[in-house]
């Protein structure tokens, strides 16, 4: 049965932070980003790596001019990715969708903010 599991007090997490919560055999990564919270199973769809223990890095985009010439690259900071540290598979931080294949998604968990605390439903 799903439980609300205490993660930490809200003031303990700042933007870009992650906490890994282990309950029995399940590990979940809880993120705070732009003041919102997201949580995913710490299990990569590639080879089972700790998907939530890598870095956060914005999506890379090619800059293509109106004449279709290549102008360089930049980051799209509206689309942060979490990066699995084993081989670099990237997932959209806000949805858990695998960046290069929308058919794949990290398993999502609900986050509850209550009485100054953060809880994740496992």
């Amino acid at each position: 049965m799903a439980q609300q599991v205490f993660v930490c007090n809200e003031i303990e997490m700042k933007d870009g932070d992650v906490r890994i919560i282990r309950q029995d055999r399940i590990e979940v990564g809880v993120y705070r980003y732009d003041g919102a919270y997201y949580a995913y199973r710490n299990h990569c769809l590639h080879q089972g790596g700790p998907a939530c223990e890598g870095i956060i890095r914005s999506k890379v985009v090619d800059l293509i001019g109106p004449d279709k010439t290549f102008l360089g690259q930049t980051y799209d900071d509206d689309e942060p990715h979490i990066v699995c540290p084993w081989h670099g598979w990237e997932y959209k931080l806000k949805t858990g969708e695998c960046a290069p294949d929308p058919n794949l998604r990290l398993r999502k968990h609900e986050v509850v903010q209550r009485d100054g605390g953060i809880y994740v439903v496992i």
Partner: protein
């Protein structure tokens, strides 16, 4: 309902530790009961760069030794095989490995290698160096010869002599065929030496008559010859690729494709039928491609490969291949067919390539739905055990798991 107190941690505050990074790999090993059989990893790596100071001491030529010391090893690298393995910080073990604590009492490389082996459930690993994969491009033949000999002596004395779970196929300085032959004569039979290695980013063709004594020496000793791929951004064809994904995806197959093609059409397998060859780190998809391609051309142009008594694919099917980086994205049907085409049950050897960025866990083989339990065990260990005539060895950690279950190892 009983709720265990959850464990909460902040991974960014933790000291880097391979066991922690590979905790999910260990769970896979336990869930799949890898303690029930031996796993041999035929292509793993260490970073010889961390031991440069020690290795330089083994360079016999005092002038060259100073060169290496003052260039901090760059003497071996006037070339362009480099790349962006660490993916701009995304593969975290690259920037953090230097900070990792290694167990006391053993060489750091042994300690760190044991850690990842135990996490993955690997019992014996064949370890290779890292930047040295590009040493064959060095224009100074003596650099290849001297450094290869220093590295091989260091490897045998400092690592292989002290850890039975680590073995290696030793680097051959192929730009000097006489020195390569001497290497085989001198190092065969040393503890942990299970064969010899050709790094395939090189431009001296392997069908050159100068190598025949070398192949004969290996055949006589029953020692396999392995071909380890790499990439070379400075190669004329790779020079026009501008992203590492391109030079890596192509280069790591291309250089093995070229040497395999030469090897077969020049009839080397007919000349040395007892010489076993192993093709390393090109994945698997290239093999069916090349088999079909060469068979097709051979039927029209057999006069150009007159030493062959059978089709090119017949020879290729008798060779050995390591599995990593196994192509696994939406290709189950092709992958199953590939396994059949290369006679994977007897010819495929599991490899991780750990700690490099595109490593494969044993589960990449173990979880394949089309393999029988015996085929899985063969690919994960038995094929290599027979090929290299290794003793059956189960790691202490796996033995402990067996003991906990009341099973004798």
């Amino acid at each position: 309902m009983n709720i265990m107190t959850p464990m909460v941690r902040d991974p960014n505050q933790e000291q880097f530790d391979t066991r922690r990074l590979l905790a999910n790999a260990q769970r896979q090993a336990e869930d799949r009961r890898y303690e029930d059989f031996m796993i041999i990893d035929v292509d793993a790596h260490h970073y010889e760069t961390n031991s440069y100071k020690e290795i330089f001491d083994y360079i016999e030529d005092p002038v060259m030794r100073d060169q290496f010391i003052y260039t901090k090893g760059a003497t071996q690298l006037p070339r362009s095989t480099g790349g962006f393995q660490e993916m701009a910080g995304r593969i975290t073990r690259y920037q953090h490995r230097a900070t990792e604590k290694a167990p006391d009492g053993v060489h750091r490389d042994i300690g760190l290698t044991r850690k990842w082996m135990d996490s993955m459930g690997v019992d014996v690993a064949c370890v290779f160096p890292t930047p040295m994969l590009g040493l064959g491009l060095n224009p100074i033949v003596e650099v290849e010869v001297q450094y290869a000999r220093a590295y091989n002596r260091w490897l045998c004395e400092r690592l292989l002599a002290n850890e039975s779970r680590m073995v290696s196929m030793l680097y051959l300085p192929m730009n000097d065929p006489v020195a390569a032959l001497k290497m085989v004569e001198e190092f065969s039979g040393k503890k942990g030496v299970i064969g010899f290695l050709v790094t395939t980013v090189r431009y001296k063709p392997l069908y050159d008559n100068a190598y025949m004594k070398l192949y004969r020496a290996l055949e006589e000793r029953g020692l396999p010859l392995a071909f380890h791929a790499a990439t070379n951004w400075g190669d004329q064809s790779m020079h026009i690729t501008n992203r590492f994904i391109a030079t890596h995806a192509l280069g790591f197959t291309w250089f093995n494709i070229v040497h395999m093609t030469n090897w077969v059409v020049n009839g080397i397998p007919e000349r040395f039928p007892g010489l076993k060859s192993i093709w390393i780190e090109s994945g698997l998809a290239w093999i069916p491609f090349l088999m079909q391609r060469l068979d097709n051309e051979y039927m029209m142009r057999s006069s150009e490969a007159p030493s062959l008594k059978r089709k090119p694919s017949d020879y290729m099917r008798e060779m050995y291949y390591t599995s990593q980086p196994m192509e696994m994205i939406n290709n189950q049907t092709m992958l199953e067919e590939t396994f059949k085409m290369i006679a994977a049950d007897t010819q495929l050897l599991y490899s991780s390539d750990y700690p490099h960025w595109d490593m494969d866990l044993p589960s990449t083989i173990y979880d394949l739905p089309f393999l029988s339990p015996q085929a899985k065990k063969n690919i994960l260990g038995e094929n290599a055990r027979k090929l290299f005539k290794l003793d059956y060895l189960i790691s202490d950690e796996k033995k402990a798991r067996l003991k906990a279950k009341g099973v004798a190892a």
